[in-house]
Symmetry: C2
Subunit: 346 residues, 2 copies
Amino acid sequence: MENISGIAAKEIIKGSLLKEKVDEQVSEYVAQGLVSTSLRGTDSHGIRLIHHYLAGIKSGRINPCPSYFVEKRMPTIAVLDADHTFGHAAGMEAAKIAIEMADEYGSGNVVVKNSSHFGAAAYFALEIAEHDMIGTSYTHSDSLIIPTHGKRSFLGNNPVCFTAPVKGEGPFCLDMATSIITFNAVRQLQERGEKAPENVGTDKNGIPTTNANEIKMLLPVGTYKGYGLSLMVEVLCSMLSGMPYGPHISKMFEDLGKKRYLGHFVGAMNISAFIDINLFKERMADMINELRNEPRLDEGQSVMVAGDPEKNRFLDRNIDGIPVTGQELKDFEALDKKYQLGVEME
Amino acid sequence: MENISGIAAKEIIKGSLLKEKVDEQVSEYVAQGLVSTSLRGTDSHGIRLIHHYLAGIKSGRINPCPSYFVEKRMPTIAVLDADHTFGHAAGMEAAKIAIEMADEYGSGNVVVKNSSHFGAAAYFALEIAEHDMIGTSYTHSDSLIIPTHGKRSFLGNNPVCFTAPVKGEGPFCLDMATSIITFNAVRQLQERGEKAPENVGTDKNGIPTTNANEIKMLLPVGTYKGYGLSLMVEVLCSMLSGMPYGPHISKMFEDLGKKRYLGHFVGAMNISAFIDINLFKERMADMINELRNEPRLDEGQSVMVAGDPEKNRFLDRNIDGIPVTGQELKDFEALDKKYQLGVEME
């Protein structure tokens, strides 16, 4: 593996977007979202997506210069029409509205419609937690998960994300897909010629298989529980927004000319209205440190809390850079050359 | 199995509580909560709990006549001090406040503190959905689930509940514990002398076992994902309320003289501020009916959505009554006799 620094990756991503005449603020959000996601170790939703996004601009799927239309329907409810721009940008605009509402009224709930892929849900909820609020973010996505007792996919691998601030360290962050493993993990198994665990994926007929090459659909985490959570996310992102649901959503990696018509949901809640914010953050630190010090079943593996693996990778990658394959590094160098950015890669 | 009608069960429960000088409105909520939960098939959280609750009044754990103290700290945030009464009553008072806030400001978020066991989370979130709102309800509970890589329980089997109205039928209702199976299910396996599935529970040393008699702790659904969801609930119910967390919560079935100091979280969100409420409910019906008609992997098992098993049982039990063991029926008859209620049982 090679490495690329977060700074260089951000310069190349933002520079490429600007050269494609993407709005300055939109470019900033996309670059920041992708790089922070890669630094936190979520490679599937990080910098590698820039090539897909550039293709989406070219094909007309993604609007580089949106005119947002925001309707504040009630003091704590807004609908943001993203005008088919990047979900990263629309989601962050939604987060800012939710934070303002929570500042004034205690909570804010913003639905985004006519949007596109928004990357990692944590990007938005972490921004909210940085304002000493509880953050939530959700998105639906195209059909991939089989409902319990079904044989074909219906809902997407809809993520649930929840954040809360902690004294002395970054926010607590639960950001979970509703399948057992991601399709990206399936691809890695395929590349390595390894078998998949039992009952995580199925072949094209809905029959569970451990042959990674045959896996076309995923099974929900905890069977009907993960399926239920995925449906909850669909209610928030499709039913509240009026966007299509499940099998009616256009595919991310097919027919790049088609707009996605995605919906997201972003929520903020003012903690200091419930309890003294310092007490909250101290007790958060107490609770998660108590958990981290719990006795281990196997001495080699410590008890962690949601978001700990990402925090650890962030510390490492901030110093060592983001690990990329040789091909991925070449692809980034090609962008630098194509757009004449002159970014220092070493 | 014997049967007891929902009407008779409610009369006996409410009558017994009133004879123990429990406040009229509190008695109504407890009776309604327990009976509706049993009618929906969630026997573990239904009418059988009345004997435990009556003991809790006698021992001084539960306050029969609370003086609630409600602070509306911001337009959409309130803290309700339950004064150690039944969680059913405090939770329903919280739901009503959340609904009022959502009516006026779009959303309402109410934390309950100094509370006791609140029964099934669905009771509160379903009430909110009946007002054409999205409802959420959460509670923490005493330590039962082992964190991933740990060997002893820390968090409770903290439930996540989410509801939304649907055209032409009762609300969509996801009400899930964060363990794979409940401890009640373990007890049933013990009674039947059956083995537990693999990796659902552990012995007293944290080692997974299929010997139901040895199971003392439960494993979270989807390993770190269920554990993360349980921690999210703890943030909402303990960190926001100032109540104790996980291992510091007094046990439900031990030392009945100890107050529980539980916290709950109840939220309401106004759907009609996002989208036309009729369109929302129609699309909900479209989506869940489309799911129910999805092709089946096994012809004998249809695709359902969260809450469907409960809806089906509610229809049956409204006609046939709530199935109870002979002993359970005798225990109800004993209450009827003790408190001279004269309830018609047939």
